[in-house]
């Protein structure tokens, strides 16, 4: 096949810079009008671009109320922002990891209303009114959660990058009643990739917590 027969890059079909211009032109006008009334003329031009961006950003955001690790947050987020990026980039809750951003690795697992959820596949605006628990909210103060203790005891990690997702999944796996045998644990933990290959130890850790029978 000749190079010029190559299919376009998938992004190219969605090219939409003109739409973009429309929206920006509109916003520019509105911000411009608002600004004219208040600002001496020479400052307008310099401020225009920045103010325009701010106003654009304002209109692009949606209010969301979330309870994260027991704390209420009233936020304004862009509709396209994922729960994962909200946690990591805006709330500095970086314990929740990005391993793929496409729902294929489990590194971003959090609990939403007690259920394990891939936060990279969840838009933040869709979580309005929900309770989110991340790895940072699992321990009670200095007292580690039994699953965290078990991961340390059985060395259920190496680099530690997949670990928060593994632990959030593991806690849910036990709560769901899917941890009754090693094979069942393996099956129900297979959505969480560990490239360091700590699976054997992770299975041991979960088995122990399940056998411990604590209310987790």
């Amino acid at each position: 096949m000749q190079p010029d027969q190559q299919p376009p890059c998938p992004h190219e079909e969605n090219a939409c810079d003109h739409k973009h211009d429309d929206r920006r032109t509109f916003l520019k006008k509105s911000s411009f009008l608002a600004a004219v009334a208040l600002t001496p003329a020479p400052l307008i031009k310099a401020a225009e671009k920045k103010a325009d961006e701010k106003i654009a950003a304002y209109f692009e955001t949606v209010p969301v109320n979330l309870e994260i690790n027991g704390k209420q947050h009233s936020l304004k987020v862009e509709p396209r922002t994922t729960l994962l990026d909200l946690l990591r980039e805006q709330l500095d809750l970086t314990g929740t990891k990005k391993g793929c951003d496409w729902g294929q690795c489990g590194a971003c697992t959090v609990h939403v209303n007690g259920k394990r959820v891939l936060s990279c596949l969840s838009l933040a605006v869709m979580q309005d009114g929900k309770k989110i628990t991340t790895i940072e909210g699992l321990a009670s103060g200095e007292q580690l959660h039994p699953m965290q203790e078990a991961f340390i005891k059985y060395d259920g990690f190496q680099c530690g990058y997949c670990t928060p997702g593994q632990i959030m999944s593991a806690v849910a796996c036990v709560r769901e009643g899917h941890a009754h045998s090693e094979d069942q644990i393996r099956e129900y933990m297979s959505g969480n990739i560990c490239r360091c290959g700590a699976y054997r130890n992770i299975v041991d850790a979960i088995s122990e917590v399940n056998k411990g029978g604590q209310n987790i």
């Binding site: 090219a15 970086t94 314990g95 990891k97 496409w102 790895i135």
Partner: protein, 741 residues
């Protein structure tokens, strides 16, 4: 040899939990992209959509106008990288050729090559704007298919070409011989942490980066060379590294791109690769074709072996690895021939992936040994023992230590090797075919240069520092143990600090050398600290004033006078007597260059597989891996190395295969849904065993390396077991079910 300082393993407590475990299970550990940096902006790279040619036109206007965008860099407007124009290898890996110079000119070397960087105030805006960059190319015909280009194979420049011992063709006339071709496809490292960097210029000529790297000092050096900066003006942090397996061994174009983006925009830039970009921008294990010939007498004495490998590289760099090397010394064979060639293709440069060339080479060697054993009607383990090399047949010298026979024995007993029925396709379990296979692995053991400092404070805290990085093996834990044992100070009062280029120089974490190299520096500084404390005791502690240094004994945090054992003083009291708040020492440990010995770690893998006779599904049902890695400092983290290597080996054997669409030179399966890696359900119970006998030469701890040998050889153990189960020999990895039905 520092035998007088020999590390006393026997007094070590039970395997310690990881010192950074709590940070990792609570989410407190900060990886490269997670460090809070004020006013950080987001960089997203745009990749080329052709594999070879030049950029005719690149239109960034729409991207520049998109909301939040503060800069779009291409070769047309990028700040210059001074090191690029100096020629040579500014961002140097251990490859020859010219590493890719990002945003340097219009030339395209591979599909997905970074051609533009969009910087915006939020991640979402940067991603969107990156989709608006339009590029036209003058494309040229590209070649990305190794099999279609075999005639272009060349010897790597500057490398000795073929290796011949005795008669290269001897195997051909042996009474029993095997000739076969083995294929290892592209594999991609894919650590769970995406490659990431935050770059921040503190001044025109001063920069701080938080980076995913296996070597903070090597990254610092690369940036120094690229931007012509003095050492003190380049600060690299990597306190936690989310895996690497080799992909973070060198400095890649995206790292330089982030530095350029930050320079151009005047803002700190955070750049996180997408999972798809992990296939094109940070290396991979190259596709390798191997021809193997082996011949033996009827009673199993190997007469000759011939091992030829052809591997891929890029057009701009020559990547080479030790694919055929282990064939020269693993068995006692009089006639050996090896050849290694590479084919430049329009792809990105490969790089070392766990167990680098040896993982590839051992698949051929250890499969061929198994094939020969069946041809001889001999047990594969017996064949290996019959040709066991007591000394290194390549270099004609002794091994510093080799307990491979012990390892064979341990593993065979554990899995019940001799209880199996040796006939292929003779065993069944619940309707599945069962089979056993085994293999051997080896990797060089060595010790490089490193430094460490130790600072004991009056409150009893001991801080050891060194600029090493840890991508998972547990460096801080093992170093804490070495310091604790050598100084005689409780581990819970010791902190090992790493991942910071301003600390005393430590090694890059690669090639299974961290414990040996870094451990030697920690050992040296621990001894130096004791010595210093002894001198201070003589200077000011009651009862020590007339003592000689050789009369001092160090035990459990105290200095004792050997001539009068009731005269003792604790380390912290020594500081008090000297009115010191702290005492600090720094030590260097030199690389070991011993020409008298060959130094290698060894491993043995035993595997039991089950194969579904109808569907061809293969399950690794059990794995027993035994390491002869010298003395084991921490059995817990060492066992994790083994199970990690075995898990990687299961991937290599059964599922991992990067597939390129050669029409475009573009990856087809560049994500975790299509490029399969082992998940929990693929991994059985794994027994990790250690011979645990010290190597008397390599370092004061007697520890050889662990990380590579855990994987090397494993894939052959699986295919050998598949043969035993089914009678079908699979010579092309991975063993997907279509190859069995």
């Amino acid at each position: 040899m520092e035998n007088e300082f020999f590390f006393n393993y026997d007094t070590m407590p039970d395997p310690m939990d990881r010192v950074d475990g709590k940070m990792k299970v609570t989410g407190a550990a900060k990886y490269a992209s997670e460090h809070p940096v004020e006013d950080v902006h987001y960089g997203v790279l745009v990749g080329s959509t052709i594999a070879r040619g030049v950029i005719k036109n690149i239109d960034t206007k729409a991207a520049e106008r998109a909301p939040g965008v503060i800069g779009v860099l291409t070769y047309l407007n990028s700040p210059k990288v001074p090191g690029y124009d100096a020629g040579g290898n500014p961002v140097k890996g251990r490859t020859t050729g010219q590493p890719l110079r990002v945003f340097y000119d219009e030339v395209i070397y591979f599909n997905g090559q970074p051609i533009a960087l969009v910087v915006a105030d939020t991640f979402e805006r940067a991603v969107h704007a990156a989709s608006l960059v339009r590029t036209q190319y003058d494309a040229e015909k590209h070649s990305t298919d190794i099999n279609a280009n075999l005639d272009k194979a060349v010897y790597p420049r500057g490398r000795s070409n073929d290796y011949t011992r005795g008669n290269a063709d001897a195997y051909k006339t042996a009474p029993v011989k095997i000739e076969a071709e083995y294929i290892v496809p592209v594999e991609v490292h894919l650590p769970m942490e995406l490659h990431s960097i935050i770059a921040k210029w503190d001044a025109e000529d001063k920069v701080t980066v938080y980076d995913k790297t296996q070597g903070v000092k090597s990254t610092q050096r690369s940036i120094m060379q690229a931007f012509k900066l003095p050492e003190q003006n380049v600060q690299v942090y990597a306190p936690f590294v989310g895996g690497g397996f080799g992909s973070a061994l060198r400095t890649w174009p995206h790292e330089i791109a982030a530095l350029l983006g930050a320079k151009k925009t005047g803002k700190p830039v955070k750049l996180v690769l997408g999972r798809d970009q992990m296939f094109t921008m940070v290396g991979y294990r190259p596709y390798t074709i191997q021809k193997f010939g082996i011949g033996a007498t009827a009673d199993g004495k190997i007469i000759g072996m011939s091992h030829e490998a052809i591997s891929q590289t890029s057009t701009y760099e020559e990547f080479t690895e030790g694919t055929v090397n282990m064939t020269r010394f693993l068995y006692d064979v009089p006639n050996v021939f090896t050849r290694y060639k590479i084919i430049p293709l329009d792809v990105s440069t490969p790089t070392w992936m766990r167990g680098p060339g040896e993982a590839t080479g051992s698949f051929a060697l250890e499969s061929a040994i198994d094939e020969l054993a069946y041809a001889l009607n001999m047990d594969p383990l017996e064949l290996r023992l019959k040709n066991y090399a007591e000394t290194d047949p390549e270099k004609n010298r002794p091994f510093s230590s080799k307990f491979l026979k012990d390892a064979y024995q341990l593993g065979a007993d554990k899995i019940g090797w001799y209880k199996r029925n040796r006939q292929p396709r003779s065993m069944q379990e619940n309707g599945w075919l069962a089979g056993y296979g085994m293999s051997t692995g080896t990797f060089s053991a060595s010790r490089g240069n490193a430094s460490a400092s130790a600072r004991l404070s009056a409150d009893g805290k001991l801080v050891i520092q060194s600029a090493v990085a840890d991508s998972g093996p547990g460096t801080a834990t093992v170093m804490t143990q070495i310091a604790s044992e050598t100084v005689g100070w409780p581990a819970n009062k010791i902190t090992f600090e790493l991942g910071d280029s301003s600390l005393p120089p430590g090694p890059t974490q690669g090639g299974s050398t961290t414990t040996s190299t870094e451990g030697s520096a920690v050992h040296a500084v621990s001894v130096a600290l004791q010595k210093k404390l002894g001198e201070l005791a003589i200077k000011a502690s009651p009862g020590f004033s007339n003592a000689k240094t050789e009369d001092l004994v160090f035990d459990n945090g105290k200095v004792i006078l050997s001539t009068n054992k009731t005269t003792t003083v604790s380390f912290t009291d020594i500081l008090k007597h000297n009115s010191l708040n702290q005492v600090e020492v720094t030590s260097d440990s030199k690389s070991l260059n011993d020409q008298k010995y060959s130094m290698y770690s060894f491993s043995v893998h035993f595997v039991k597989v089950l194969v579904n006779p109808l569907t061809g599904v293969v399950k690794v049902n059990r794995a027993v891996s035994v390491a002869d890695a010298g003395r084991i400092v921490n059995e817990k983290t060492a066992a994790s190395q083994i199970i990690g290597g075995v898990t990687g080996g299961i991937g290599m054997a059964l599922m991992e295969e990067g597939i390129l669409d050669n029409r475009y030179g573009r990856w087809i399966n560049n994500n975790f849904a299509d490029y399969h890696v082992p998940v929990s359900a693929d991994v059985p119970d794994i027994d990790s065993l250690f011979v645990n006998k010290p190597d008397p030469i390599i370092n004061p701890m007697g520890a050889k390396g662990m990380g590579e040998i855990a994987l090397i050889g494993f894939a052959a153990a699986v295919t050998n077991a598949v043969y035993h189960a089914t009678g079908k020999r699979i010579r092309s990895l991975p063993v997907t079910l279509d190859k069995l039905i």
